[in-house]
Symmetry: C2
Subunit: 421 residues, 2 copies
């Protein structure tokens, strides 16, 4: 299979083609004709198959030379699979156990064979259903601190980091998607945008909001230029698979060297959106416990992230930045602590900036969230989204002066109770 030209798999061709790879044939086990192959329909960009054999079930993920959901008219290079694979290996090394085990990679076929996570479900789905996952705050806080710290100049050898940066700089088409769809399109009448009808007034207001547009472009500037660490690049609740006991991160095809707080902001934004969607999922039964849970998850994620980042700073700061040699001699390490505070302060500010924009693009742009989309009543749908839009505007524009999550809890609660105006 290796040297052939790229060919998209189908449910029918998969067993014959995959069984030609001895290590896969052995792993899956049994006669390939007996393998049960199902396509998972819910990815936007790529093909994903579940392949069940006599011994093991595996996931086969294959990129296509275009966006799966759209087709030929939106080409997208196969090499995104290469970046996904290499990001997964680095995440695995930096935060062991947090991503699916990797079984096989074929660059030409843009194909990754990996562990089938089961009975895991997508975190977004779990949150919409009102499930309170007890471990996500801690697990993802640790995941982010470890991958982001250990992929940065705080930890890596400068020459290795620069070589890796050059490698991932070629993931330019996927960065381009983020640059446009996340940071720019929501703020003007871009062709692919859509929004819930009831929001027209607010959308107009936001698109005329100078402070917001400037802030969004400032964050885009940071995204495009600050090559601080290897970020996941698409860390929302649809890229996390969970059980009550386990949390796994998937789908890092947008990975590149970018700002440290990008993943953190995107993830927290998705919790805040889940929060504002509760009202739409309420029905007869109150979702107050879920609301409290989600704000708690935001709080735990941030604090675990921050504390683990600080721990790594104190114990693994072996890179070219803030070197121990400079801080040890004359001041009992207080300078290193002072520097840590500055760095964490910047992470906080950036996190807020990115979070607000993620909330906007999910409501104003092309890619919407099931959290809101599944609210059937249109007025309620718009009401939930309006609260999220206002919250997003506040955190992005005021990122430099917001002091605490408590302050944001209060804002979230107030906005959540408002009527659509």
């Amino acid at each position: 299979m290796k040297d052939d030209a790229f060919e998209a798999l189908t449910v029918e061709t998969l067993p014959a083609r995959l069984s030609a790879i001895p290590e896969i044939a052995t792993r899956v086990g049994g006669a390939p004709s007996g393998w049960k192959v199902r396509e998972v329909g819910d990815g936007n960009l790529n093909l994903v198959f579940i392949v069940e054999g006599a011994k093991e079930t595996v996931i086969v993920k294959q990129a296509l030379p275009y966006v799966r959901l759209v087709g030929d008219s939106w080409p997208l290079p196969l090499k995104r699979s290469f970046f996904e694979y290499h990001a997964l290996t680095r995440q695995q090394a930096r935060a062991p156990g947090t991503v699916p085990a990797l079984h096989y990679f074929d660059e030409t076929q843009a194909l990754i064979v990996m562990e089938f996570l089961s009975p895991h479900i997508i975190l977004r789905r779990a949150l919409i259903e009102g499930r309170q996952l007890p471990k996500i705050g801690r697990d993802l806080g640790l995941f982010m601190a470890r991958t982001l710290f250990r992929g940065s100049d705080l930890s890596m050898k400068a020459s290795e980091r620069k070589a890796d940066l050059a490698l991932f700089a070629d993931n330019v088409e996927l960065c381009d998607i983020t640059e446009n769809l996340v940071f720019s399109d929501p703020y003007f009448e871009a062709p692919m945008n859509r929004h819930t009808p009831g929001l027209d007034g607010l959308v107009k207001e936001l698109r005329a909001d100078r402070d917001l547009k400037v802030a969004a472009q400032r964050m885009k500037h940071a995204f495009a230029t600050r090559a601080e660490t290897l970020v996941h690049g698409d860390l929302h609740s649809g890229s996390v698979m969970v059980t009550d006991d386990e949390t796994k991160v998937i789908d890092p095809e947008f990975a590149f060297y970018g700002p440290m707080a990008f993943d953190v902001g995107m993830l927290l934004a998705n919790y805040w959106m889940a929060y504002f969607a509760q009202r739409g999922h309420e029905g007869d039964e109150s979702r107050n416990a879920m609301r409290a849970y989600l704000l708690g998850v935001v709080d735990e994620t941030w604090h675990v992230f921050r504390d683990e980042f600080a721990r790594l700073w104190r114990t693994e700061r072996n890179g070219i930045l803030y070197q121990a040699a400079l801080y040890e001699d004359q001041d009992d390490g207080l300078a290193a602590e002072q520097a840590l505070n500055h760095v964490i302060h910047d992470l906080w500010t950036d996190m807020l900036g990115f979070a607000g924009i993620e909330m906007h693009r999910r409501i104003l742009g092309l890619a919407h969230n099931a959290d809101f989309e599944e609210i059937a009543d249109e007025t309620l749908h718009a009401t939930c989204e309006a609260a999220a839009l206002k919250f997003g505007r506040h955190v992005t524009v005021n990122r430099n002066t917001i002091q605490s999550l408590a302050e944001l809890d209060a804002l979230a609660q107030a906005l959540d109770q408002r009527k659509l105006s």
Copy 2:
């Protein structure tokens, strides 16, 4: 010559070897045996020859696999010549006429043949001699605005910029020199450091100064991670050649994608150091006019840079950042102006941060400035340097709150009058 293994040129071998390249033989003209070849002794890292033929005089610059001044014990890759050549071509395209014309490049031989600038002299030399060059403020302000703006995401296609970033990311050894010698070594007792004896007390104080050390590492963090534009990377007064009418920039072998304000901070720092050195060059004759001239040059450079940057922002903002589409519709372009103010504010802050550190490393680190080194009287030498160190400390630590150059003129004047304490 092209396919041969690298071999360092000598005054003796140069004519035979260079005349094998038809375009060079023709350009220089006459029998190679008649060429007059001189080595220019004043570079630290590379070989530089002046080759005078019947028709034209050219400069031949060749890298060595080590630092010329030190020898084998300090290896340095030949590829720095590749980066110098490619940086020169980009500077030439972005700010035509500001660098020597390029005649030839041989990657294997790490060799660049370029225009011989004559009667130009090195700017640092001119300033030490008390010459007031009328055009440097304007010329270098424009040079920086144009190269830095046009090499950034404000202007370039994102895919081209990312490819170029990946290319220059391989200039890692030269970045490493800056990261260590500029940002770290001055702030602890690094082996290669030296300083004028009278400064012991102040040096001790600075190396125990927590705010300063944190600030220096914050700037290093920015240097290492913020890939905003192709910077020259070593833009001090020794990398500029001048006549009264012309200003040319040479020697961009440290070029890489870094923070926009790095070049600006380094250049202004060198003017400020020239200012603090005046007292040491005063002798019988007052250098007050030169002092006023130098502060004027700082002022003019910054303002020309800022205004040209703003002009390019308004007329050539064709990149992925702050796109016109976002700003045109609802607010008469006021958002673009607001964003410009933010960007210029950041450039100002970063410039100050980098400037102070450049002043420190030239007094505390390995590479000292002739401006101070040529002050024969040791106490006077230390007095001048002490003023520069204090000034540098102030601008770096207070970069976020300093409002104007007038404020810094006053500080410079006050420090310049002090006794060594």
